[in-house]
Symmetry: C2
Subunit: 315 residues, 2 copies
């Protein structure tokens, strides 16, 4: 028996086949190549056909899909802001037409990330754990007593919108306060704002036009102890620490796992984040929680999607 | 059949008998009168004996208890910061010795509040709802897909510790940032701080020594449009709105219910709070949530404790 996990991003789709016990059998990736709307679903259907129809020793028993947005469990439609035409796209129906009697489950990427860690990463054996995903945007996959927190309309875990810096500023209106300051895009943005205001600056980032600076540039400059990069990361650690503290006080989790493109290089700050969180969080909960980097090697999405599939047939 | 609910506070204990269908049969309240440690448990046991042994037509089938702190489900012990000697008090064992074969369940007050609203208040029929309790302190009872969020060590919902105002200030070290500014005690404290800095002030609060000002005084002065009271409440609405926004973005609830002594007079601000929350929260979730005052007439604790009892025998 095997299960398939599909991880849909804004620019590419990955599909992987796993045995029931979690061994990776094969994996493929395809670029979306600026496809929009039904063309994206068409690509995924083609990838699925290849895998389901392949002469594998193990027939596929279930399919799980991770989408970068909201999966509406009641209607089977999805909203993915980075895929044009997917405001309320009937993805479940499309995929079912290819999969026949093989059950298909869809969930948000943040939900799949924590499921991936639960199955094969650093949340193994946990009942209450949270995956904080920091990439271009920020989201949280939240496991409560062994189940994913979905909320009344499948929109739980939108931690990028966390209010952390009063008063409200219009600049965070489109992405949320926490994401504005502490996502990958946020790190770059804060660095650009600082550079523009410092005409005397002659550090590591001097040769970049402010508009072209990326989070990766800031991390590189940080390694050289660049003053602007140090200031940006110090503020970022404060925001990460406050957000993590709020997760601790509200959820009392066993573990918080840091993943996404920024963690990555951000893992060097995990102990600083924990120190900042300890100032703010409910003190008994703060003592009990452990913080770790992701244990799925950047594959939390595809592994979690496959585990979603496995859960659907194991219930 | 009847069930008993006991609501333990820092200064008094209430006990009430309900029919299975939720009708109040009788209720009594007793002051703790500065009792500490086992004397508090002794008082509760005496109240229980009276009710269980009374010639009621309906025998008591289960007992539920709401404690102001943490109920440790694995050990049956409780921590209640306002009851001296209850750091790790074996309350379950004590009560079981009086109740015999009648099952006893204990949970935190914040958990019981949302259960009370679920059974007889404004959360009837909800699966995902939150009770924000603002009194001397602040806590949140959180219902997820019909179940109470307890966390890995029964300390979930400690929203008084929410980080909302950077940088961290030592003054909030003992109670948490949100509680420091926006609890009943916080409202009084912020008013006192403002008054001390305004020698020219001649408003409603002028005859009170700053140390004696209470939240009730601030609400009264607010009715008279007192400048200090207006400023205090404006800031308070900002904090309430941010905290509520964070609940919306993380939990995507159907409903948020405002209760505790401060709501109370604070209910006049619910639409202002919703407006502030709408600035910060995940916008799709924000549109779907409704906000209401408590529908249990100040009895959420005792009703919720009774429902806790009922749930224990209905499972």
């Amino acid at each position: 028996m095997s299960v398939l996990g599909i991880d849909l991003g804004g620019t590419k789709a990955a599909i992987a086949m796993f045995s029931e016990t979690g061994e990776l059998i094969k994996k493929e990736t395809a670029a979306l190549d600026h496809r929009i709307g039904s063309a994206v679903a068409g690509l995924v259907c083609d990838m699925l056909k290849d895998f389901i129809g392949s002469e594998s020793v193990d027939p596929v028993r279930a399919v799980g899909v991770s989408v970068p947005g909201i999966s509406r469990s009641k209607s089977g439609t999805v909203w993915a802001p980075n895929i044009k035409g997917w405001e309320d796209y009937p993805l479940l129906k499309e995929l079912q037409s290819v999969c026949g009697t093989v059950p298909v489950s869809i969930d948000s990427d943040r939900a799949c990330y924590i499921l991936g860690e639960l199955w094969q990463g650093n949340a193994k054996g946990c009942k209450d754990a949270i995956y904080l995903s920091v990439g271009t945007g920020i989201g949280a996959g939240i496991l409560i007593n062994g189940s994913i927190l979905r909320g009344s309309q499948d929109i739980a875990g939108c931690i990028g919108w966390m209010a952390l810096d009063r008063p409200f500023k219009d600049k965070s209106i489109s992405c949320g306060c926490f994401e504005y300051y502490a996502s990958g895009e946020g790190i770059a943005k804060v660095a650009r704002e600082l550079l523009v205001s410092r005409s005397e600056y002659s550090g590591e980032l001097r040769d970049k036009y402010p508009e072209k600076i990326t989070a990766a540039d800031v991390f590189k400059a940080y390694e050289q102890k660049d003053v602007v990069a140090v200031e940006v990361m110090k503020q970022c650690v404060e925001f990460w620490g406050m957000a993590v503290a709020n997760l601790i006080s509200l959820f009392n989790p066993e573990k918080i796992i840091f993943g996404g493109g920024v963690f990555g290089p951000g893992v060097q700050f995990i102990s600083d984040i924990q120190q900042e969180a300890n100032k703010w969080a409910q003190p008994i909960s703060a003592k009990q929680v452990s913080m770790e980097e992701s244990g799925t090697g950047g594959n939390a999405g595809v592994i979690g999607a496959a585990y979603l599939a496995l859960q659907a047939i194991n219930i």
